[in-house]
């Protein structure tokens, strides 16, 4: 319900804005001057803002799945070219750490056309995540979000009953098969990281992501235009990046948190760059962070990570085996300083953050019902001492811009993150 409320509020704001811009030309003129021609009103700008929310996640079998620190929005998808075969889907995760729109087949009521390769085989993807994989065809859809539209966008339909034979090559990458709302943790995901495609070299290299499926499935190369793409890059305008704008939250957290997802950077009055620091990211969308005297070259800021993850052997981890990789200090710790450096040399210094006791947070009222938990932090494997993963908590109370590779804004050229 909170989500619907937020959505309604967002729509209300959008309607007000367009009413203002349309009405602006009409004031002031006298009604009597019959000879003057009234200039046509300027076209209303594309509505480029939609609402986002951190809440308990999609409903499965009557109850929310219990998401934490996960940012969601709604999208409308249509069968390409149709204005009637359309569906609005809520609880699509907003993820700056991936690329492309993926929808869970179980919530999709439309039949989206699957792309076929020149051989006639269907294009199916094995999307790889750290802890598992998602299997499903790459179909086409017209996406509408806010006032933006991406026509014939290649999207993945995860868990599509038309493609149930998962090749061993895919399942052998291991982990959980994430093909249901519960195992995936959302009704879908919209990857809006700083690159255009979900694979850097799949047009020339077979590497286990894309498959040509006829009677059986074979690892294949794919032309870029057929690959699952960051939808923002296919908008007609406002296509150079995104801004996630979330309000600050109390230290202990909150039940929900609502904010905005704004498309485009320096394309409209509501997405202008200001005095923020622009940090260029490397070819893996990563930054260098310095923490506890160590330089961590493979670090990243990621709306799709649900905690703050770093290695610090001085902070005690939880004894509960289900959360044994999360931190459980006796008292909330203030940790830092953390500095973040882009490949352009720009730096943000002296950041600090709080690390709470995860066991207490999740088992004690009122935080046990919160989906916004800014103090949730966990370990990275010791072998990954070269990384710091600053998740959605980084975005709380900030306006964070992500510019897509090769696109220009008034303050730089993507790929960058700015805040």
């Amino acid at each position: 319900m909170a989500f619907l409320r937020a959505l309604r509020t967002g729509l209300g704001v959008a309607l007000c804005l367009s009413a203002i811009s349309c009405g602006g030309g009409g004031g002031g003129g006298g009604g009597a001057s019959g000879t003057s021609t009234i200039p046509p009103p300027p076209p209303a700008p594309t509505v480029n803002t939609t609402s986002v929310i951190v809440d308990q996640g999609p409903t499965v079998n009557g109850s929310a799945i219990g998401s934490i620190n996960t940012l969601f929005t709604s999208v409308t998808v249509c069968v390409p070219g149709s204005t009637t075969s359309c569906q609005t889907i809520d609880h699509i995760q907003v993820d700056t750490g991936s690329y492309g729109l993926r929808l869970l087949s179980s919530v999709l009521t439309l039949t989206l056309p699957v792309q076929t390769l020149s051989s006639g085989a269907s294009l199916v993807e094995c999307t790889q995540f750290v802890d598992g994989y998602s299997w499903g065809p790459v179909a086409l859809a017209d996406l509408t979000i806010a006032g933006e539209t991406a026509k014939s966008l290649p999207v993945q339909v995860i868990g599509d009953p038309r493609f149930t034979n998962i090749p061993t090559e895919c399942s052998s990458t291991g982990g959980t098969q994430e093909d249901t709302v519960t195992t995936f943790g959302a009704n879908g995901i919209m990857g809006i990281g700083p690159f255009a495609l979900d694979c850097g070299d799949c047009d020339t290299t077979t590497n286990g992501l894309y498959f040509a499926c006829a009677t059986s499935c074979t690892d294949t190369t794919v032309p870029d235009a057929m690959q699952v793409a960051n939808p923002v890059t296919l908008f007609a305008a406002d296509n150079n990046g995104t801004i996630i704008d979330l309000p600050a939250v109390a230290a202990a957290g909150a039940v929900t948190l609502s904010g905005s997802l704004i498309f485009g950077i320096d394309t409209q009055s509501d997405n202008k760059s200001g005095t923020q620091t622009v940090l260029t990211v490397d070819g893996m969308a990563e930054l260098s962070m310095t923490f506890n005297g160590q330089t961590l070259a493979n670090s990243f800021i990621d709306s799709g990570s649900n905690g703050i993850f770093f290695a610090d052997s001085s902070i005690v981890t939880c004894t509960n085996s289900q959360i044994s990789t999360f931190y459980c200090p006796a008292n909330t710790l203030t940790v830092g300083p953390l500095s973040i450096q882009g490949t352009n040399g720009a730096m943000v210094n002296n950041l600090t953050f709080s690390v709470g006791n995860t066991e207490t947070i999740i088992s004690t009222a009122p935080t046990d019902t919160y989906s916004v938990l800014p103090q949730l932090a966990g370990t990275l494997p010791a072998g990954n001492a070269g990384s710091f993963d600053y998740g959605l908590a980084f975005f709380y109370g900030k306006r964070v811009a992500v510019a897509v590779q090769g696109s220009m804004t008034s303050v730089g050229t993507g790929p960058y993150i700015a805040f």
């Binding site: 994430e178 493979n298 990621d302 799709g304 010791a382 990384s387």
Partner: protein, 158 residues
């Protein structure tokens, strides 16, 4: 090979080296918990090539270039067995191949709380499988806790 301490390891290493010479750039990895020299069955499976082999104090690391740009590293103990594997790149390696008989244990492990597709930390008896990263940059490692050579620093396992 001045860093090899035990005679047994020297023999195993020599066998491995001979096999590598025989297989040339087509050599792939051995499998977790298996002897270093049992690589032949893996060669065609992974379509890989060995990039480097480095002798470190008390163990040896083979770095294997998989198709695409993912790297797989295999850690060989003085007894000649693979005690750990680690990977990083845009895709994961074929873990059924790399983990061998431990793959099913790994695949059957229950998921912890708060999954976000960015982290993995599985402990099933002696087997530990961990991972982190994000799309286009995935890393992970798997090892047998009881098989770590004495004095081995887990921080070097990546």
């Amino acid at each position: 090979m001045p860093l090899f301490r035990s005679g047994e390891f020297r023999i195993a290493a020599l066998s491995g080296a001979l096999l590598m010479a025989a297989l040339g750039p087509r050599i792939a990895c051995a499998t977790l918990g298996e002897p270093e020299i049992t690589v032949q069955s893996d060669v065609t499976q992974l379509r890989a090539s060995i990039k480097s082999s480095e002798d470190r104090a008390g163990y040896r690391v083979h770095e294997i270039q998989l198709p695409g740009s993912t790297l797989l590293r295999e850690f060989v103990a003085p007894n000649g067995n693979v005690f750990a594997v680690a990977w990083n790149g845009p895709t994961k390696p074929n873990l059924r191949q790399a983990l061998g008989k431990y793959f099913d244990t790994y695949a059957a492990a229950p998921r912890p709380k708060f999954v976000d597709r960015r982290h993995m930390n599985i402990q099933q008896g002696d087997l530990i499988v961990q991972g982190s990263g994000h799309m286009r940059a995935l890393s992970g490692r798997a090892y047998l806790a009881s098989a770590l050579p004495s004095g081995f620093n887990l921080g070097d396992l990546h």
